[in-house]
Structures are given as structure tokens and as C-alpha cells.
């Protein structure tokens, strides 16, 4: 088994999804090469070479590859694919954008969003928003896989002894041009890897009221999430969305506030260790999966929660 991983990074930092993907791949085999495509990525390439399980980093460092345009990346992977039995990438918007292009050019069926690996050709993936789990076997000679990062541990950042190899590759004209990116800046933990997530739904009623959520999140050092309804209503931006078409999170503690619990939202959070639901409607489906439910008006409950957390913090100090 020889495995190629497509690394996700932003030219300055390696995304944690890369560490989860290496860990997933290590369940299939021990020959793991990591392809890093970007601009000014010397440090990133060196960093990944030190990760556990990594044999070799292949670094394509070129200004033309700065913006992770899928149409430019897939030819790079295809050019080296024949050396590998498996190609892995994280099932993030980055990996989802590139990997199906690789699969079709190699004429293999991609297996998306793998959450468990049974063997070198058999994988488990959620379907129907996680309401069913499919155990699937790939009959293609080469396996093209995206993995759900939160379903796998991260590998250790030290202990590896990979080598770095540089790759030259002419960028193909793609007729797709990067214009700009609008990224939410926040000092809080990243949503997809946070230990605690506090999420708000339509019950918050306005963008201003989301302050109640951020106040609690600050006190718990938590990330903020949202239901699709809250994002659609414009309370917060799309990168906060948890659910079938948003992010999948598995924190130790997930606090759902003013979220009714549509199937599509549950798909993104029901693997959380402890789930708390605060909702006015006692019949809300979210209570069926919550470890602790509180049927209350969130506009009363959240300020109370805030002061209870203050009390707790002052006792500890």
C-alpha cells in the first residue's frame, strides 16, 4: 500500500484536517507521501515532514498555485497517481473541490466523507445526513478517498523523519481566476476542532441577540456555531453553520440554544460527547438527543447561565 495525501493549508499554517487525514491513511498502510501545493510553503513542507507516519513530502512551491484553484491542483495529483494505491484528502470544502476531479480523470469512483476504515478497500461513510451508515467496498484498482476530519485523531506533529522533495509542475491555464476571500476573523477556537461549541438557532431572533451566545462562548472558551436557519436569516455568516451541508463537529460539549433540531442540523453535531439543549418548546426534537435539556426562554436562561458560569469561575479562582 502506497498512499498519497493532499495537504490542506493556507500557505502559512497547516490545517488540522491534514493531521486527521494522515491519521486516517495510517490505518490503510505505512508508506505515506504528502503532497503540498502552494506558494512560499518551504516551512510548511518541512513541518509536515516531521509528522508521525510521513515518509515523504512532495512540495510544489510556485506563485501560480497560491490560491488552491481545483483545476490547477488535479493535474498535479493525476501526474503522480500511478505510484499510489490510495489517494486521500480531507472532506473539507478544499478537498471536496479537488478530489472528484482526480477520481474522474483516473476513471475511479470516489468514496466521500469516510468516517471509519475497515480495510484497504472497505470504508464506512454516512448517507442520508447520517441517518444511515454505508459500509462500501471499492472495486477500483486505485482508491480515491475523502475523510471526515473529525472522525479521526490528529497525528503527532513530531516523531516523523520524512524527506522533502521538490516538484516542478507547469500550471495549466484554467480560465478560473481567484478574486478575493472574506474570512471571519476570531480569537475563539476553530469551530471544527473546538472542545466546546455554543450554537444558536432561529430562536435568537436577530444578529444582535447572538451576543448572548458569544458571551457564553467567551466564558467557556468555546467556538460559536449556528443552525442553517440562523445563517439564512443573516444572524451570522455561513462559516458558522453546523449540519449536513455545513460543518460537522464532535466537541466534548455542544450547547444548542434556540435550535429545534432538524435532521439536517443533527447530522452535524449528534456525535458530540455531551449535548445540552435550551429551547422554549418542550416538544422540540433536539431534546430527544440531548443529554441535558432545559425547557426555558433563552432570553432568561442565557443571562442566568452567564452569571452561573461567573460564579463557577470565581470559586475556582
Amino acid at each position: 500500500m502506497s498512499i498519497l495525501i493532499l495537504a490542506e493549508h493556507n500557505n502559512t499554517e497547516v490545517k488540522s484536517s491534514t493531521l486527521n487525514t494522515i491519521s486516517a491513511a495510517s490505518k490503510v498502510g505505512s508508506e505515506i507521501d504528502v503532497l503540498v501545493v502552494g506558494s512560499d510553503i518551504e516551512n510548511i513542507a518541512k513541518e509536515i515532514a516531521n509528522y508521525q507516519h510521513v515518509s515523504k513530502v512532495i512540495s510544489l512551491d510556485n506563485k501560480n498555485f497560491e490560491h488552491a484553484i481545483a483545476e490547477k491542483i488535479d493535474p498535479v495529483i493525476v501526474s503522480m497517481a500511478e505510484k499510489y494505491s490510495h489517494i486521500f484528502a480531507p472532506a473539507t470544502t478544499f478537498g471536496k473541490n479537488v478530489m472528484p476531479r482526480v477520481a474522474v480523470k483516473l476513471d475511479v469512483a470516489q468514496i466521500s466523507d469516510v468516517i471509519n476504515i475497515e480495510s484497504e478497500d472497505t470504508f464506512i461513510r454516512p448517507i442520508y445526513a447520517g441517518n444511515a451508515l454505508a459500509t462500501v467496498k471499492s472495486n477500483d484498482a486505485m482508491k480515491v478517498i475523502t475523510v471526515r476530519p473529525t472522525s479521526f485523531d490528529v497525528v503527532a506533529k513530531e516523531g516523523g523523519s520524512g524527506i522533502v522533495e521538490t516538484l516542478n509542475f507547469e500550471s495549466s491555464d484554467t480560465f478560473t481566476e481567484f478574486l478575493d476571500r472574506e474570512e471571519s476573523k476570531s480569537d475563539r477556537p476553530e469551530l471544527s476542532t473546538a472542545r466546546i461549541v455554543v450554537s444558536g438557532g432561529r430562536g435568537l431572533q436577530s444578529a444582535e441577540n447572538f451576543k448572548l451566545i458569544s458571551d457564553i462562548a467567551d466564558k467557556l472558551n468555546a467556538a460559536i456555531g449556528a443552525s442553517r436557519a440562523a445563517v439564512d436569516a443573516g444572524y451570522v455568516s455561513n462559516d458558522y453553520q453546523v449540519g449536513q451541508t455545513g460543518k460537522v463537529v464532535v466537541p466534548d460539549l455542544y450547547i444548542a440554544v434556540g435550535i429545534s433540531g432538524a435532521i439536517q442540523h443533527l447530522a452535524g453535531m449528534k456525535e458530540s460527547k455531551i449535548i445540552v439543549a435550551i429551547n422554549k418548546d418542550e416538544e422540540a426534537p433536539i431534546f430527544n438527543i440531548a443529554d441535558y435539556g432545559l425547557s426555558a426562554d433563552l432570553f432568561e436562561a442565557l443571562p442566568q447561565l452567564s452569571s452561573e458560569l461567573d460564579k463557577l469561575n470565581s470559586i475556582e479562582k
Binding site: N10, A70, E71, D74, T93, F94, N97, M99, P100, R101, A103, V104, K105, D107, V108, A109, Q110, S112, D113, P126, I127, Y128, A129, N131, A132, L133, A134, T135, V136, S138, D140, T174, T176, E177, F178, L179, R181, E182, E183, S184, S237, N238, D239, T245, D252, L253, I263, Q264, I274, V276, F287, N288, I289, D291, Y292, G293, L294, S295, Q304, L312
Partner: protein, 249 residues
Amino acid sequence: MKILVTVKRVIDYNVQVRVKADNSGVEKENVKMSMNPPDENAVEEALRIKEAGKADEIIILSIGEEKCQETIRTALAMGADRGILIKATDDIEPLAVSKLVSKIVEAEKPGLILMGKQAIDDDSNQTAQMTSALLNWPQATFASKIDIEENTAIVTREIDEGLERVKVNMPFIASCDLRLNEPRYASLPNIMKAKKKPIDIKSAEELGVDIKPRIENIKISEPPTRQKGVMVADVAELVQKLKYEAKVI
């Protein structure tokens, strides 16, 4: 310009999906079927582009069993012009779908292809990207805004980090996010009119595409169920439980 829009017939998003007792799949008998939700956004966007005078025909393509005609009719009732059904079993994989779409593109020569970003049944999120690669057309996935100019378009994409804007040359393929627009309801007169709109029926064999599945379903199983927990009386009790029982804060 012609716009090609693909639509998939799936179990309605409100239905609680049940796994069959023999683990061979999920229960589809007597279950409400609907158009895949982001495909509705793709149809709506095509209609808006046409209404803005930037397109003159909208073709709806569906691939699957005979009943997919109902899904095509829904799109025709929203205002699309004509339909194409390629008959296949409903477990057809994205790889085969993208090959079939490419065949239709060769014949119809649209200037734009719109698809939903993901089907809510198999959750694969592959077909648009695969089709783009096969056709060597630019791709703009997870689109929440599409502005078409003369020979280019500017597309806003919803990515994990926030929003990204790309400029693509026409023709291109976009996969549509749920926030792209608010799909319209079909009016009764339009539903009546849609019954007369043509649907062309083809098969994978006549298009010369091998649609044999590459992936074997070993089993479909229930996910582990969560036990319903306890209701707490007030916030103070909640905090106590989280601190001393669950030990998560």
C-alpha cells in the same frame, strides 16, 4: 444561451429515513420523494438568468428510473422549457452520472451548467466537479451568488473559512448552495402548462456510457442511537450537572 440544469429525485428532506431490516438499503416504499433541495436552487437560478435576458432556453436533465419524470415536471412547472430523462437504476454513481451529463452537453452545447452542490441521499458532493473535469470547463462549486457578464461570470463560493469569489470564463459549471436564492413555487396554471412540455427519454446504452457501479454496498446500517437524557429544572442545575456529573466545564 442554453442552460442545462440537473435534478435528482430523492427521499423528501422532511422524511425520517429508515434503514431496512435486512441492511440492504433504506426504505423507499410509500415514502415521499421530492427534488433534491439544492437542485431547486439550481433551477431557480437558471430561471432568474433567463428572466434577466441572459439565456433563452432551460433544459432539465434527470438520470434515474421512470419516475424521475415527475421531478423533471416539477422543474418544468417552475418555468423550465424542456426535459431529458436518461433511464438508469437509481443507485447510479456520480462517476457514471458525470459521463452521461457530458454526453448531453456534447449534443446540446449549453453555455452554462447548474447543479445542486450535493444530493441529500448519498451525500457524495462529486458530480459537478467530475463533470467540470471531463468537459475541461471551469468549475465554481458551492455557489451562493452568480453574476453573469459578457463572457465571464463572478461567483461567490461558500467555503469552510467564509466566502471566496472567483471569476470564470464561460461556459462553466456551478454547483449551487442552498443560500443562492429562494426557489419559487409553481403556480397552478404553470403546473398545467408543464404537462405539455416535452421530455426526451434516452438510455445510457444509446449514449454509449458504461454505468456499472464500481462501489459495492456491503451493508447499510443504523447509526448508533443516542439515549434521551434528562430534563433539568433550571440553569443552576444544568451548570451543576455539567460541572460535577458530565465534567465537561
